[in-house]
Amino acid sequence: PPSQGWGGSDKAPGLVAAAADHVAELHPVLQLPTSARRGYALLPPLLKVLSDRGQRGWASEVPRLQPDSRALRYMKRLYKMSATKEGIPKAHRGHLYNTVRLFTPCSECRHRHGDLGKGDLHSVDLLFNLDRVTALEHLLKSVLLYSFDTSVPVSSSITCICHLSIKEHDFSSQVCPSISHSLAFSLHFEVRKRKWVEVDVTPFLQPLIATHRRNIHMAVNFTCLMGDPQQSTKLENPVNVALVPPSLLLYLNDTSEQAYHRWNSLRHGRKSPARGRQRSSPSGGKGSASRASR
């Protein structure tokens, strides 16, 4: 019923909104007044997603891009590390993010160049579309996520030299339409332990994401050899690593009202909405205020 604050409240009951959407889809005559629909825009993002999806999902099967199965497996593992079975976020030191987004490169750009016949040089051009990153999501860390399918015998060590260049299309200057920043680094890992290799590209992407760049275009080429440079074994016979184009993983801090800010609840004893204000103790508010800050 309208009295339930459907209007502009961003705390409107989203699940009920989704159900109302569903009913409205089935019986258009029951369309909610436009003011109530405007209210949906303020729903917490999750419930808005649900109520929107609910509408499209129920009423018409909108074709939806299915995620890459490897990426899905990785994110399920990340979920298990970050939350309990009931979905309660786990509090551990390194867990500063409240949002993690995984993007797979858009399919038409996954062309490879470089002669794979040599079995070692892999070069791939990647374009990531970051439309889903909101203005209130600030980047904490970004990672290229490689899953290695390799026929290399288990527990052998691999060293890869990686050359990453990001192509920025700088339309302002006619002389060099695209600037590229490049980075070369070596990766060493044991095949046994890892199905995933994370390449930290935070310094690279920070400026692009901070300026809300929607598309990130990068070229990555990889040369992988057997052996471990530390143990002065000579790097020989290139490894024929079936390199799947990497996904881009963004660890973000969502600063919006509806996102969970653990440091708030840890440090200031998050105010429960029912006790909007701290009741000042008889010894005057100062006591409780200094206690809260301590």
């Binding site: 909108v62 399920k76 979920y79």
Partner: protein, 133 residues
């Protein structure tokens, strides 16, 4: 004489359950408290894009608020005032309601329309305590 009349009118409470007898004056039978509610996203047919958690227990608050809420519910003094207004001055003013007083967050793994995958932690998704307001 009036005292004798009152004594005759009051139901004689057997001495052994005096506490029960007085409780009916102190707290309502179905007192305001937190109730369990579990839903699975597959019931709502949302499990195609909500990958985890499979089950979600938002809980809810239900029950009558006693007249003297005081510290028991962490209610503000305003709640007692609202009760008095409703009882003494204007019955159109609603009595205090039993609502959530504290929440805990929920982590959700969803698939976005563009096929990307997002892990998000949302605030205030599970009621953990009730109050009268």
């Amino acid at each position: 004489q009036r005292r004798d009349e009152n004594l005759k009118a009051a139901p004689a409470a057997p001495p052994n359950n005096l506490s029960e007898y007085f409780k009916q004056f102190l707290f309502p039978q179905n007192e305001c408290e937190l109730h369990n509610f579990r839903l699975s996203f597959s019931q709502l047919k949302w499990d195609r894009w909500i990958i985890a958690p499979h089950r979600y227990s938002p809980q809810y608050c239900k029950g009558d608020c006693p007249r003297a809420t005081g510290h028991r519910y962490g209610s503000a003094v305003h709640t007692v005032v609202q009760n008095l207004i409703s009882e003494r001055l204007d019955p159109a003013v609603p009595r205090p309601s039993c609502v959530p007083a504290a929440y805990s967050p929920l982590s959700v793994l969803t698939i976005e329309p563009d096929g990307s995958i997002v892990y998000k932690e949302y605030e205030d998704m599970i009621a953990t305590r009730c109050t009268c307001r």
